[in-house]
Symmetry: C2
Subunit: 346 residues, 2 copies
């Protein structure tokens, strides 16, 4: 549930808006940050985007974008999209499930079991496409939104829960990392629901930082910070302040949502801040579409990073790992020592 | 592979040294930080610790602590514990595998497959005990060290790899989070081995921060930093400097290795620094032994945190999540808004 809801290359990294670098078409997609738009600049990728057209995709008209019609609440003619009081049924259960990186093999057994238990599965179509066949076949209904944003989709999920269905909200990565667990609780509360009554549960997944770190070797072994460069929901001044604060310390830094056509400047500003505090030779790992078919990875240095912003490997499906002063590269692996070498001989 | 190598309550969080709070016995255990000692103060837990007695547990005498004798290298009388040149065989493969939180259901399918492929599985006994039966039964050999530290055990794993065996090093959480992927690469290099030749691979797992975040609700939805309070491999001045830097910014903070008998002061210092920058009412989530049988969780506030250091819920198997200024508690769930409420009505 690492926030990317978009290009089919997404998943292991977060995406939150985008536009095509290859097609030259700028899609003003979803206004949201964590699952929103995005599109691949790597060619051949999906052009799916999420436009936050709540009037089109609101809970009350949700069935039109459901892959199988559905909507238990429409079936029984209860009103959908209102408050908990509008539903007569005992609420169902609600679980947010992190699928981990792109492929089903990256999913935990607990996640798979939670999806098997769910009657309704709600998610961006890219993630639904990643589900194992048996999960899709067993589900009573799958609600996917190729053209809708995460707010309206999450509202739909809550409505279905309040109407008595056992619902799972899916996403890549982990449901706590720039993802929908918080929004689900916020909407549940706003509708007068109860987390206890719906037995709300979060099933964690492998976050993008860990999927990318694994691909690079061992860059994140010590204290680490994760920062999203999307300023849609967080003011850029705050992001800059956070980057300044951590760049001067010994943290490795995992950068989510590093680039979009609308936010080129954020990437360059981030590079400038990092270079203000860290050596130009600092190793930097870049992983695009971790564990997906179009996965690509490279190791470079901080000095070179700014000029890579326009390259295909960096888009909203990319996670960038910036080393600390001890990080080094050995045989194409990025290693941040934990400090054992200071106390042990080996 | 979240660094905890110790009490059977560990796993979802990191541990790196410890001593019993209940038994009153202070065990001067492993000198290492990520997998080291620790012991439960929750009663009934294991008293296993890892003492870094390299002379006892060094690679050359490793078979004495192997659960099944073994050691391919001793079987064929090659010398173990030396350099790559000492081995005639083609090296095997080496994979570090994150088991995720405590129970097998928290493991990814990829992790399970990697373990099934491995001929030798190397890990702290607590983690070996968490493996599914079929993995244990299928393995040619399991090398577990109830009394040895992670440095000697990792050396043993590298030696076995260089001797031609396909080896998996296991740990809870993720192999990049205060864990052994880096040490494995460092030792492989020091022995003159090659990451390419052994086809070194890291299989990520769900880290403790995510397991604990999921248990608490949605506390880690925005920019987050992870900090270990163990000063065994990182000087306390650096830890303090990092805490000061991030506490004044909008990060949520995941605290690993929060307490041990030997490091009571670090916990209090951490609380003091956080209270210097953040409101006393800031929500704090505490999860002990996430996803284990003795899992315990509570939500409190920053003002109350210092006095909990001596309570059973906080030990080296605990991860603490400190909210940012926007974090709130609703129905025993800790929520850090992503910022949707600033742009959407719901």
């Amino acid at each position: 549930m690492s926030t990317d809801d978009t290009a089919d290359t997404a998943d292991a990294s977060t995406t939150d808006d985008s536009s095509s670098k290859c097609g030259g078409t700028t899609v003003e997609a979803d206004a949201s940050t964590t699952e929103a738009e995005s599109a691949s600049k790597c060619g051949g990728a999906t052009t799916e985007t999420e436009t936050e057209t709540e009037s089109k995709c609101g809970a009350s008209s949700s069935s039109e974008s459901s892959t199988s019609g559905c909507g238990a609440s429409t079936d029984d003619e209860e009103e959908v999209g209102s408050t908990a009081d509008d539903f007569d049924a005992e609420p169902g259960s609600l679980v947010t499930v992190g699928l981990g990186p792109g492929k089903p093999e990256g999913m935990t057994a607990r996640a798979k079991a939670a999806l098997a238990d769910a009657e309704h599965i709600v998610g961006y179509r890219t993630y639904v496409d990643l589900l194992p066949d048996e999960i899709v076949e067993d589900a009573e209904d799958i609600y996917s939104t190729p053209m809708c944003g995460e707010v309206s989709r999450t509202e739909e999920a809550i409505d279905r829960t309040l109407a008595g269905n056992d619902v799972a909200i899916i996403g890549s990565g982990d449901p706590n990392v720039y993802a929908l667990s918080g929004l689900a609780l916020e909407i549940l509360e706003s509708k007068g629901g109860s987390a206890k009554a719906v037995d709300f549960e979060v099933v964690p997944g492998v976050p993008a930082a860990q999927s990318c770190g694994a691909r690079l070797g061992a860059p994140l072994v010590n204290d680490t910070v994760s920062v999203s460069l999307s300023d849609h929901l967080t003011p850029m001044e705050e992001i800059e302040s956070r980057l300044h604060a951590v760049a001067g310390e010994g943290f490795t830094v995992a950068i989510y949502n590093p680039w979009s056509r609308k936010r080129r400047e954020n990437f360059q500003t981030c590079c400038d801040i990092l270079l203000e505090h860290r050596d130009p030779d600092t190793p930097v790992g870049i992983v695009h579409g971790a564990s997906r078919d179009d996965e690509a990875a490279m190791i470079t240095d901080l000095e070179t990073l700014p000029e890579l912003g326009e390259e295909e490997i960096i888009d909203m499906t990319t996670t960038i790992v910036v080393g600390n002063e001890d990080t080094y590269v050995w045989e194409d692996r990025m290693v941040t020592p934990r400090g054992y070498e200071t106390k042990y001989d080996y």
